[in-house]
Amino acid sequence: MQEIPLSQILFVSTFLFFIGMYGLFTRRNLITMLMSIELMLNSVNINFVAFNKYLFPDNLDGLFFTLFIITIAAAEAAVAIAIIINLYRSHHSIDVEDATEMKY
C-alpha cells in the first residue's frame, strides 16, 4: 500500500490553520470564534504528529507536545467559556459587536 506523502499532510494542516484564522476574523459569535481557535490548534497538532511520524520516528517529542496542547486547549476553553458566560450576563449577548464600549 502506498503511503501518503508528508507534503499532503502538511497541506491539510496549513489549510486547516487558515480556515481557523478566517473563521476567527469573520465570525462574530464568541463561541464560534473559540471553535476557530481550536481549529488552529488542531492543525498544529496534525503538524506535530506528522513530523514526528515521518521525519523523527525514534523519539516522541512531537507526540507529547500534542498531548500537552490538547490539555492546555481544554483549560483555555474552560476559562474562555466562563468569561463568555459572564459577558452574557452583563451584555445579554455573545456577539462581539455588542461588546464595544472601549475603542481607540
Partner: protein
C-alpha cells in the same frame, strides 16, 4: 543531589507552598480581610527574601529547567514587583469578598512566568507561557459586575489564544526542520533555511503579541482600561517583563545563527512601536489607557536595546525593567489608590490634584519624569543605556528616530504634570486617606527611582551577570 533540587527550584517551591497555603486559608474559618492581607504581604516579603539567599547554577529534569545568577535575579525582580502591587492594592482589596482568589490567580500566573524564564525546552516554554496567561484573563474579569471588565477579559483571552496558536505553529515548524525541542541542540540545527525563517517570524509574532509591540498592540489599551488597576499594573509590568526576559534569552542563546534576520525584525518592530505608542498616547484621557500607550512606547525603546545584541544589550534591558517596575508601579499606585477611593480614572479629574493631595502628586510627578527620562531620575539612565546598546550596531538613523520620539513623549507626560499642578478644577479630588501599606510601597518606588539611577553598583552587578550574543 536531593538538596540541589531544593535549592535550584526554591523560588518556585516557595511560591507553590504559598498558593496552597492560600487555598487552605480560603477553606478555613472566616478571617478579617485586613489580617489576611497583612499575612499575604508578609509572605510575599519572605518570598522575595528567599530569592536572594544561596543560588546555584545548574539544570534539572534533563535540561528542561535551568537556572543561573541572571535568571534568579530576573525572578527576584518579578517578586519585588508583585510585592509592590500587592501593597498598593490594599485599599481596593480591603473590601473585596474574593481577595484570596485574586492572589491565587496572580501567583499562579507568576509561577508560570518563573517556569517560562527558566525553560530550556520549547515544551516547557509553552507550558509556562500558557500558565502565565490563562489565569491573567480570569483576573482581568475580577470586577464581575462591571461591563468593561468582562469585555476586557474577553478581548484578552481571545487575542492571547490566537497569539499562542500562531506561536505554536512556529514551534511546530521549528520542530519539523530541526527534529528537537531542546534549546541547546536546536541552535546547532538552525541554518536559516526559508521554513525556519518562517517559523521564526511566527514565533516572534507570538512574542510581539505578549509584549504588545506595534502591529500586535490592538488588545493592549482596551484590556488595560477595562481590568482592575492591580491587574493592569500586573499586565503592564510583570507579564511584559517576564516575556521580555525570555525573549532575550531565546534570541541571544538559541537563535544566534539567524542573528541578522532577527536584528531586522527588531528594528522594524521598535520603530513602529515607538511611533504608534507615542502618537496614540497623546490623545488619551483615561489614565489607564494613557499608561497603556506609554508602556507600548517604552517597549519600543526596550526593543532598541535588545537589538544591540551585546552584553550591554541584555544588561540595559534588565536595568531598564528594574527602573520600569519602580516608575510604572508608582504611577499605577497613585491611580490605584485614587480609583479605589473615588472611582475616578480620567486625567481631567486630576486637575488641581496638587492642592488637595501634595504627597500623591509628587509621587506621580516623579514617576512620570522617570518614565519620560528626565535626568535626576533613574529613567534617564535606563533610556541612555538602552540607546547606547542600540548604537553599538551603528544604526544611527534608528537612534535619532528614537531620540526624536522621546521629545514627543515629553509632551504627553508633562501634560499630565501640568494638569496636576497648574490647572484648576471646580470639584477637585478631595483629600484621600491613603493606607499606610500603600504609602510605604510608593515611598519604596520613589527611593528606587532615584537611587537606582545614582548608585552605579546596581548596574555593575547586572552587567556582571548578564549574557551577550
Amino acid at each position: 543531589m536531593m538538596y540541589n533540587i531544593l535549592i535550584q527550584l526554591r523560588q518556585e517551591l516557595v511560591l507553590t507552598v504559598l498558593i496552597f497555603l492560600l487555598l487552605f486559608i480560603k477553606l478555613g474559618k472566616d478571617r478579617s480581610n485586613e489580617s489576611i492581607l497583612n499575612f499575604i504581604n508578609a509572605a510575599l516579603f519572605i518570598n522575595l527574601g528567599a530569592g536572594f539567599c544561596c543560588h546555584e547554577t545548574g539544570e534539572l529534569f534533563n535540561g528542561m529547567f535551568n537556572t543561573n545568577a541572571l535568571i534568579v535575579f530576573e525572578k527576584n525582580l518579578l517578586n519585588l514587583a508583585v510585592l509592590l502591587i500587592s501593597m498598593q492594592s490594599y485599599a481596593w482589596l480591603k473590601n473585596s469578598k474574593h481577595l484570596i482568589e485574586f492572589y491565587l490567580l496572580i501567583l499562579t500566573s507568576l509561577l508560570g512566568m518563573f517556569f517560562m524564564i527558566s525553560s530550556g525546552n520549547l515544551l516547557m516554554f509553552y507550558l509556562g507561557l500558557e500558565m502565565s496567561t490563562i489565569p491573567l484573563a480570569a483576573a482581568a474579569n475580577f470586577d464581575l459586575t462591571k461591563r468593561k471588565s468582562s469585555e476586557a477579559a474577553m478581548k484578552l483571552i481571545l487575542s492571547s489564544a490566537f497569539s499562542s496558536a500562531i506561536l505554536l505553529m512556529g514551534i511546530s515548524f521549528l520542530y519539523g526542520t530541526t527534529g528537537t525541542l531542546t534549546f541547546s541542540i536546536l541552535t546547532a540545527h538552525l541554518n536559516g533555511n526559508p521554513l525556519q525563517l518562517f517559523a521564526f517570524i511566527l514565533l516572534i509574532s507570538g512574542f510581539a503579541f505578549k509584549i504588545s509591540a506595534v502591529p500586535f498592540h490592538l488588545w493592549t489599551a482596551d484590556v488595560y482600561e477595562g481590568s482592575p488597576v492591580a491587574v493592569t499594573s500586573f499586565l503592564a509590568v510583570i507579564s511584559k517583563g517576564a516575556v521580555l526576559f525570555t525573549m532575550v534569552n531565546l534570541l541571544y542563546k538559541v537563535f544566534t545563527p539567524i542573528a541578522s534576520t532577527w536584528y531586522l525584525v527588531l528594528v522594524v518592530l521598535a520603530a513602529a512601536t515607538i511611533l504608534i505608542g507615542n502618537l496614540f498616547a497623546i490623545r488619551q484621557d483615561n489614565f489607564k489607557r494613557f499608561l497603556a500607550f506609554s508602556s507600548i512606547a517604552q517597549v519600543g525603546f526596550i526593543l532598541i536595546g535588545i537589538s544591540g545584541s551585546s552584553q550591554i544589550g541584555s544588561a540595559s534591558l534588565i536595568y531598564f525593567i528594574l527602573i520600569y517596575i519602580f516608575s510604572n508601579l508608582a504611577a499605577f499606585g497613585v491611580v490605584s489608590v485614587v480609583s479605589a477611593l473615588t472611582g475616578k480614572e480620567n486625567i481631567s479629574d486630576f486637575k488641581g490634584f496638587y492642592k488637595t493631595n501634595p504627597m500623591l502628586s509628587w509621587v506621580l510627578t516623579i514617576a512620570l519624569f522617570s518614565l519620560a527620562g528626565v535626568p535626576p531620575t533613574a529613567g534617564f539612565f535606563g533610556k541612555l543605556f538602552l540607546m547606547m546598546a542600540g548604537a553599538a550596531k551603528g544604526n544611527y538613523g534608528l537612534i535619532t528616530f528614537a531620540a526624536l520620539n522621546m521629545v514627543i513623549s515629553f509632551y504627553y507626560y508633562l501634560r499630565v504634570v501640568k494638569a496636576i499642578f497648574m490647572e484648576e478644577h471646580a470639584t477637585p479630588i478631595e483629600k484621600l486617606q491613603v493606607p499606610t501599606v500603600s504609602k510605604l510601597a510608593m515611598y519604596i518606588c520613589v527611593v528606587g527611582m532615584i537611587v537606582t539611577g545614582l548608585a552605579s553598583v546596581v548596574y555593575d552587578y547586572i552587567y556582571s551577570i548578564s549574557i551577550g550574543l
